[in-house]
Symmetry: C2
Subunit: 343 residues, 2 copies
């Protein structure tokens, strides 16, 4: 059943039927009702392809995820983000178009999305320092919202970010207040903007108290359990093991804990652990009381909000770049405690 068949059936023109269904005012209430009923009775639904050709809108948002052998973008965090974004999309009749591309072809993927008119806008994931995607999208004229920020980028753009610097600063201060003086950092890859800012918050907190950052105790890599484990083993087995470790995410923190406990040490007593918790729905930081003391901010909520910001932009409800900086909350769990007496 297409529009022509439906309008023939009703003895009306396609124009009128189309307008009736799309809520235009120039159609009598009685006819509108008649049309609506016929549409429902015959289970008519406008063909999306034709509709988007006619309107120039696709009602879909692009997410391009680079698939490199090195960094795993398609991870837990990503899936919770899109769950949130998808919710917002659904509420306003959009959906999401995901393209997985080799990371060497990422820029080209964005160009293709813009040129072929596949999407109405895109979300930029995992911005790096001075991220080249931002000026690219700006020039392409494709609406976009960045989840995170890009240090050094001069192009104006809309973003939503967690205050990673203050989150790690507060985490570090919290541990300092507990008497810890020797820290380990298990960070994410520091070309990523969020990891860069976290490192910055961490070092600035230490420097403010006159503590020198030990390069042997700062690590940055993929946020996996084995990485957290391996680096913690190294640190604990080294000359001057840390009494507190800050991890970039719950997942490496699990590895940190494994290394700690494997050595017969007690978490929260011998070694304190703080991590960043993205509040992932399927990997909660304990039920009820948190396992790990953590700086928490829901990535799912971020997805929801990013989606809304982008749709607003597409629909022209906003024109200037919009920024939102969210503060993470510090939740205290069982993984932290006063620094042990010096050995």
């Amino acid at each position: 059943m297409n529009l022509r068949e439906l309008s023939d059936l009703l003895g009306l023109s396609q124009t009128t039927v189309s307008r009736a269904l799309n809520g235009y005012p120039e159609v009598r209430e009685a006819t509108r009702k008649r049309v609506a009923e016929a549409a429902k009775a015959h289970n008519y639904h406008p063909n999306t392809r034709a509709k988007s050709l006619a309107t120039g809108r696709t009602m879909s948002i692009g997410h391009v995820i680079p698939l490199s052998s090195q960094h795993e973008m398609v991870n837990c965090v990503f899936s919770d983000f899109i769950a949130g974004a998808g919710e917002s999309y659904a509420r306003r009749g959009y959906d999401m178009r995901v393209s997985v591309v080799d990371d060497a072809e990422e820029a080209e993927a964005y160009m293709r999305l813009a040129q072929t008119g596949k999407v109405d806008g895109v979300i930029v994931h995992g911005p790096r320092l001075d991220d080249e995607r931002i000026p690219l999208l700006h020039n392409l004229g494709l609406p976009f919202v960045v989840h995170g920020r890009s240090t050094n980028c001069e192009t104006p753009y809309s973003w939503l970010d967690v205050n990673n610097r203050s989150a790690f600063r507060r985490a570090t201060d919290f541990l300092l207040d507990l008497g810890h003086r020797r820290f380990g950092l298990v960070n994410g890859i520091e070309e990523m903007d969020f990891a860069h800012r976290r490192r910055d918050g961490y070092t600035s907190a230490l420097q403010d108290r006159g503590i020198v950052v030990d390069p042997a105790l700062t690590h940055a890599f993929e946020m996996t359990e084995p990485f957290g484990y391996a680096k913690t083993c190294e640190m604990l087995d080294g000359d001057a093991p840390p009494t507190a470790i800050i991890a970039s995410s719950l997942i490496p923190a699990l590895g940190v804990r494994r290394a700690v406990e494997e050595r017969g040490l007690v978490m929260g007593k011998d070694v304190s652990i703080i991590c960043f918790d993205d509040a992932l729905s399927y990997l909660p930081n304990g039920a009820g009381s948190p396992i790990f003391t953590a700086t928490r901010s829901s990535v799912r909520d971020a997805g929801r909000r990013c989606g809304e910001m982008l749709m607003d932009q597409i629909e022209g409800q906003t024109t200037d770049p919009v920024h939102e900086l969210w503060e993470a909350e510090l939740v205290v769990g069982g993984s932290t405690g006063p620094a042990p007496m010096a050995t």
Copy 2:
């Protein structure tokens, strides 16, 4: 730059230009070259919307993910699956359209996808027993491939599944051979077909050795860390604690381990643990030697293959339903050992 502009510029008809670019034979090699060069020079890319209206094909595959407050479909496993599927899609010029829907509207979402012509086919995730989506899609005539199977479903359909029954049977046998006689099961929700089959493999292995399944030691719920933890606490603190626990996934297994170690018990000695490992890229079961003894099958590979099966079906390369049953491999890690002497 659209087709008309390009053809005007070349002094050719749209027909010829279109054919030249799409590799049809009725165009001279010299003109084809000339067209290709002009297209590249002017950065011409055909408009996707127009193309799909004309061809009736969208070159995209639908994934609908129900978002219930109860079960979290959008989880780690899902994101690795779509990474694999996305790879296959990209290789053949497809991409993926994800719609997040309230789980009450799931059936309607599939109908809408079919009626509005948004996608060329869909992947069905997380089939339940007697899953109603399968006959629905069959009737709609929309090509689909099921990741998993649906017990009791009579409609013929294409699927790819891991042999969950044999995986759990082998895991149970492995533990039986080590002398364990008292087991705990931390399963997924048993309305889900995969969890149902796993339970079946588990109970049949026990029954074959004349062991009665203790309902107090079999649990089924969301596959989260806190659930694994909570149920293991219950079991270990009960009258007759198990010496071996089988978990449905790495994530609850982490909770199981936490409960075990919290009680001063040693994993692989006091309590053996086996889990199903989906070989998630960002949550590997150890680097090098596995942490957990596990039955392993890569969900990412499954995504890749499902994508291919579906595209083959869409392009008419296959006509009859296709089935693939993958065997999981049993990898032995440090979480299992001989049953402790009876207390």
